[in-house]
């Protein structure tokens, strides 16, 4: 599966999930996955790096949604329409509507398996490629 040189950002406060996703991504030659433990760190990374996709935990709900709004408004170094997968402990109607408005590709409900996150990377890669060639 050719993936080119795509670069994703994983924003996830839980160290075990973050470390395992990044390490497995490296060992399986998935796209490069940078990590951020907080929205603050993610904001800094997004300001300086042109990412091709985002895996975003909503553990810091309000800050994460603000980051997503800023991303879609073109406020970071990457294109505004990069694919985004969101990870959340819950998803009510309001959040689902908000995710749809923000063009979120997928919502992963916690607790999930690391494997599910890694499989969603494939979806991001396909979508990133489609958006690049569109």
């Amino acid at each position: 599966m050719a993936r080119g040189k795509l670069n994703l950002l994983l924003v996830e406060p839980q160290w075990l999930i973050r470390s395992t996703v990044v390490a497995v991504g490296r060992s399986l030659d998935l796209p490069r996955i940078d990590e951020a433990a907080s929205i603050e760190t993610a904001t800094q990374r997004l300001a300086g790096t042109r990412y091709d996709g985002l895996l975003l935990s909503l553990d810091e709900r309000e800050q994460a949604l603000a980051l997503l709004d800023k991303l879609r408004a073109g406020g970071f170094a990457c294109p505004a329409q990069v694919p985004v997968v969101v990870m959340s402990a819950d998803c009510d109607i309001d959040l689902a509507r908000r995710m749809k408005q923000c063009d979120v590709s997928r919502v992963l409900l916690k607790p999930f398996k690391v494997k599910t996150v890694l499989e969603s990377v494939d979806g991001i890669v396909g979508e990133a490629r489609r958006r690049k060639t569109a």
Binding site: S27, V114, K115, E119
Partner: protein, 171 residues
């Protein structure tokens, strides 16, 4: 049943294990959270950090198993020590090495075993992070990579807990 073989460098391996100063120490959250995570990730009833001592395998961390040690000669992890890759036993009843093993024909009735070797920077294999099920299973390459990555985190913790001899002497 094939008894767990003894590596040719077992004396040095045991010395490296002893120098970790971890045998017979109490449970620690830093290991328990990785083991619990592994059990949930793979949907298995048992997950262990197993350290293979001279005559037994001792569990630094265990999920789903009451025993804190078992005999080395019947241990699956004892076999894993000599493997280069993760030891994967999809169905112990169909494997001549384990079909009549007491841990297979009796409690905890192991059918599936995957053990990722914990290799110290010195090259010595001190044990495994293993996941065990009572039904036959398969793991795909991504599963194996996840188990290997979790194993690496355990090794990091093992090594981080050691005090270099020079530092200890100078303290």
């Amino acid at each position: 049943m094939k008894l767990a073989p003894i590596p040719h460098d077992d004396a040095q391996r045991l010395q490296a294990l002893r120098e970790l100063l971890i045998l017979d120490t109490p449970p620690e959250e830093r290991f328990d959270r990785i083991v619990t995570f592994a059990a949930h990730e793979f949907d298995v009833p048992i997950a262990l950090v197993s350290l293979v001592d001279r005559n037994c395998q001792w569990f630094k961390s265990r999920f789903g198993l009451a025993a804190c040690e078992t005999a080395r000669d019947i241990s699956f992890c004892g076999h894993a020590l000599l493997e280069r890759e993760i030891l994967l036993i999809p169905d112990a009843l169909r494997d001549d090495r384990f079909a009549d093993n007491p841990l297979v024909v009796g409690p905890p009735h192991i059918r599936f075993y995957a053990g990722a070797q914990m290799v110290l920077p010195s090259g010595h294999v001190v044990g495994t992070l293993c996941v065990i099920d009572t039904r036959p299973r398969e793991l795909d390459p991504m599963d194996l990579a996840i188990l290997g990555s979790l194993r690496d985190l355990v090794v990091q913790e093992l090594v981080a807990g050691t005090v270099p001899a020079a530092t200890a002497a100078g303290a």
